[in-house]
């Protein structure tokens, strides 16, 4: 490992000497200071803070991502081309140590640059949102909703899932299913319908959900009920109703009001009545005089948000999550550079990064049964091609799914908690598992690759 650290130090020194570090530093300063001056928010202090976090850190992350892939590709392939690798390869250093050393050097460079731009953004944010520069209500909104780490909880669906499975079993046993229906597809459709009912509230009715709180309520911090619903009428007029929040059978908080459909609403509630509770019951009474039913968005239409930590810690964890991504990109670049020449390595790395970016689409395609047949092609050729494509998409989905990461900047800018678990999980998958595979593969190639071929 000592040898790997020595190579890391050499890599870092080479980056400094080649002015890569200096050029990137200038770029990051320009992005960190120039962007907030040119980008317009929505005119609120919260909007300004969100823009500063997502655009400035996003620009820094973009610059560093490109440089990570590029430097990773160049670190080995260029040294092989320039025959500098020969000097290293003939020394008592194992290929794995060379690869790890280079990677550690790149990670250190990224860590330095990310910390630098992070410090600028954090300083700018703290300066522009200093208490004397803001009105009291703006300050409160910032402190409670943006510059905070809020954990989120959604309704417990375990009872719903059990009941749905049981109901579906009855449908099957009582023969109410079409003969040619595929059970998995039928179940998906059945569950979807029941889930809409689970989150729907007919006019004049009351629906309740159990929510397990992610942390113990603190007496001086509000709890936020965030929701969005659609209504059964086209008119976009507000729906009147009442929220009941309590524990067990006891109602401890009520909030009456009118809320327009299709918009996200956030209601701050005092936490004191819920102190000591870890599971609460949230109910909505639909009292709309026009008789409209409401449907809460099943995926993100009903949430409890509560403070689980400070902003500084969340900011640091977002930085770590970004660093994990950069380290992984460096590993991809290094692995490609170990196998291919610089242009090919760049192309391969960028293709892999693009594949990761469209993993959602790949996941959707993997769930599809037919591709060519749907496009109007029939026959055994189309069926075979469908089968082959499905295999490709499924393989890609299996390989890429673990690499999906939460959007650190989005979470940070919306005041959502980035947990240590998420950071550790990302490090385990991206660095230990995939990074390890890339390192082992690269070492294997480097060991077998003929470095002294005449050019």
């Amino acid at each position: 490992m000592k040898r790997a650290w020595a190579i890391a130090a050499l890599t870092l020194r080479a980056a400094i000497r080649s002015r890569v570090l200096a050029a990137l530093t200038v770029l990051l300063i320009l992005a960190s200071v120039g962007l907030p001056l040119t980008v317009r928010g929505d005119g609120t202090a919260a909007g300004h803070a969100q823009i500063l976090l997502s655009y400035t850190l996003g620009a820094a992350a973009l610059v560093l991502s490109i440089s990570s892939v590029w430097s990773g590709c160049a670190a080995i392939s260029q040294e092989i081309r320039d025959r500098q690798m020969h000097l290293l390869a003939v020394k008592p250093v194992r290929p794995l140590e060379i690869w790890v050393g280079k990677w550690l050097g790149l990670v250190a460079m990224n860590a330095l640059l990310l910390a630098f731009s992070g410090a600028i953004v954090y300083g700018l944010l703290r300066w522009t949102t200093r208490p004397e520069a803001l009105a009291a209500d703006e300050r409160t909104a910032l402190d409670e909703e943006i510059l905070v780490a809020r954990a989120m909880a959604r309704p417990d669906e375990s009872e719903f899932e059990a009941a749905t499975r049981e109901a579906f079993r009855r449908e099957l046993t009582e023969g109410r299913m079409a003969d040619d229906a595929r059970p998995d597809e039928a179940y998906r459709a059945f569950r979807h319908l029941r889930r809409l009912q689970f989150y729907g509230v007919p006019p004049g009715a009351l629906r309740e959900w159990r929510i397990r709180l992610p942390a113990a309520p603190a007496p001086d911090r509000p709890i936020f009920l965030r929701f969005r619903f659609a209504k059964s009428e086209l008119a976009p007029t507000a729906v009147a109703g009442q929220w009941f929040i309590g524990a067990g059978d006891e109602v401890r908080l009520t909030v009456a009001g009118e809320w327009p459909p299709d918009a996200f609403h956030s209601i701050p509630m005092p936490a004191r009545p819920l102190l000591g509770e870890r599971e609460i019951v949230v109910a909505f009474g639909n009292g709309d005089p026009s008789g409209a039913a409401v449907f809460f968005d099943p995926d993100r239409g009903l949430e409890i948000l509560m403070r689980a930590g400070g902003f500084a810690g969340n900011f640091a964890r977002a930085g770590l999550l970004l660093l994990v991504q950069l380290a992984f990109l460096s590993a991809v670049g290094l692995a490609a550079g170990a196998v291919f020449s610089m242009p090919v390595a760049s192309f391969v790395s960028i293709s892999l990064v693009l594949l990761m970016r469209i993993s959602g689409y790949i996941g959707e395609m993997a769930g599809q049964r037919q591709y060519f047949a749907e496009a109007g092609r029939a026959g055994p050729g189309a069926a075979l091609a469908d089968h082959a494509l499905r295999l490709v998409f499924r393989a890609l989905k299996t390989a890429l799914a673990p690499l999906e990461l939460p959007d650190a900047l989005d979470l940070l800018a919306s005041g959502r908690l980035i947990s240590w678990g998420a950071v550790a999980g990302a490090a385990a998958v991206h660095l230990a598992l995939y990074g390890g595979l890339l390192a082992a593969g690269s070492a294997w190639v480097l060991r077998r690759r003929e470095l002294g071929l005449p050019s």
Partner: protein
Amino acid sequence: MRRRVTLLYLLAALAGIAGAARVQPELLRLRRAFHLTQADPLENMPPMVAFTTVALGGFRGLLVDALWMRATRLQDEGKYFELVQLAGWITKLQPRFASIWAFHAWNLAYNVSVMLPAPEDRWRWVRHGITLLRDDGLRYNPGSAQLYRELSWLYQHKLGQDMDQAHFFYKRAWAEEMTRALGGERPDFDRLAAAPTDLDVLRATPGAPELLSALDAAGFAPPYDRLLDADPPPEPIASRPADDPAVRALLDFLRARRARQIYRLDPGAMKAVDEAYGPLDWRLPDAHAIYWARQGIPYARSRFDRIQLERSIFQSMANAFLRGRMIDNRELGYFALTPNLALYSRVRQAYLDALAEFPNDDSIQVAFRNFLSDAAMIFYTYNLESRAREIYAELADRFPEVAAADGFEAYLYKQWQEYGRDFSPGQASAFVESALYQSHFWRALGDRDRAAGFARMAQLAWQRYMDIRQDPEFRARTGLPPLEEMDRIARERVREFVEQARAAAAEARAGENPPSP
């Protein structure tokens, strides 16, 4: 040899550039003459826009797609903080595509604003929409009649009508802004147009250097923009008489500057609009809807554009007639809009002008018929019976199908019945207030029975209108102010009328009996 060839190439390139420069003005003239473009090429394009429109080439489309998809996703997720910037980028990547500006301004002002519960948050987004069109859209498309129409529509419909739950907030916020910027409902256009254009010219006004020094000492830095928002005015202003030439020159300078730079209003054009369509209350959105539609008319190249702009004008004027008089009682927290009867002749003329230009357009005919019908009712209920009869005579002449066979009274009765079934908020407000006005008028004249009859009619109309608005949201958006408050306004209006009548009578008497020398 190689150097000579290079030199030759350079000379050929220079000759080409010189030749292009010579024919360019003629090409521009021909482009204008044949209406090949909406406007001259932009010469003051910001570097970033010039760069993106030229350097990105075909990739602009891809970038726009990506930005548009991001904007749609964020809007769907309720994350609005980036939308102003994204709309700015999307539009500036295609700066000459007027529909894109129109879409994004509409999206911000209509779709995003209604997603927010607080009126002040909604107002911010409505302003974003207006600003996008007015400050940038028209800057890049100065010859686009469509954008003038869209901007006019935002004022006329989003601010002026009552479709949005927060429409009273918008009207009030806009009125406050305009009061600060223009000094009141009737700005002095000549003074604004003649106001000093820079501080050096202002300093030449007697007393101005001392006033500016005093303002400097009071913490107001040049160019003193904050001064218009200072409430109460700072000591250097408050301690001088209102007609102090330096104070007047400074306020004119600041108001003209804000009108031109922030609201893109040209005092000369405002005066022309007011003379043609006024007297308008420039604190209300209708005046601005008329202003922007009027500015777009020279650029209307198709019948559609022209008719849409004309429609914006006469619809806004009709609205100003029905609700063009603002009452803002801060003490009682009461804000209301009542009929501006002085506008009748101008509104009528606007309709006649539009009909003269588009005689076969049914929508203008119907709108004119409805306007005459409303006007006859309102004038009658304001006790201006002879005027109401004149209007009815015109209505019966132009649209015999709506006139009653038994004459004016029968027509009024029929209209009352129809109004009672389906009042619009503007009609309801005008009807109730004018009935109350009648009640106080007849009481002042001593006819108590007639006064009581009108009061009962107002009470009935108010009650009936509010009874069918049980839904709280509908009631808040389209409901009438408390009857007692409407009654107080009507009483005040009658008192003003009686005082004016007394003053006129006294003046006439004085004229008949001139004081002896």
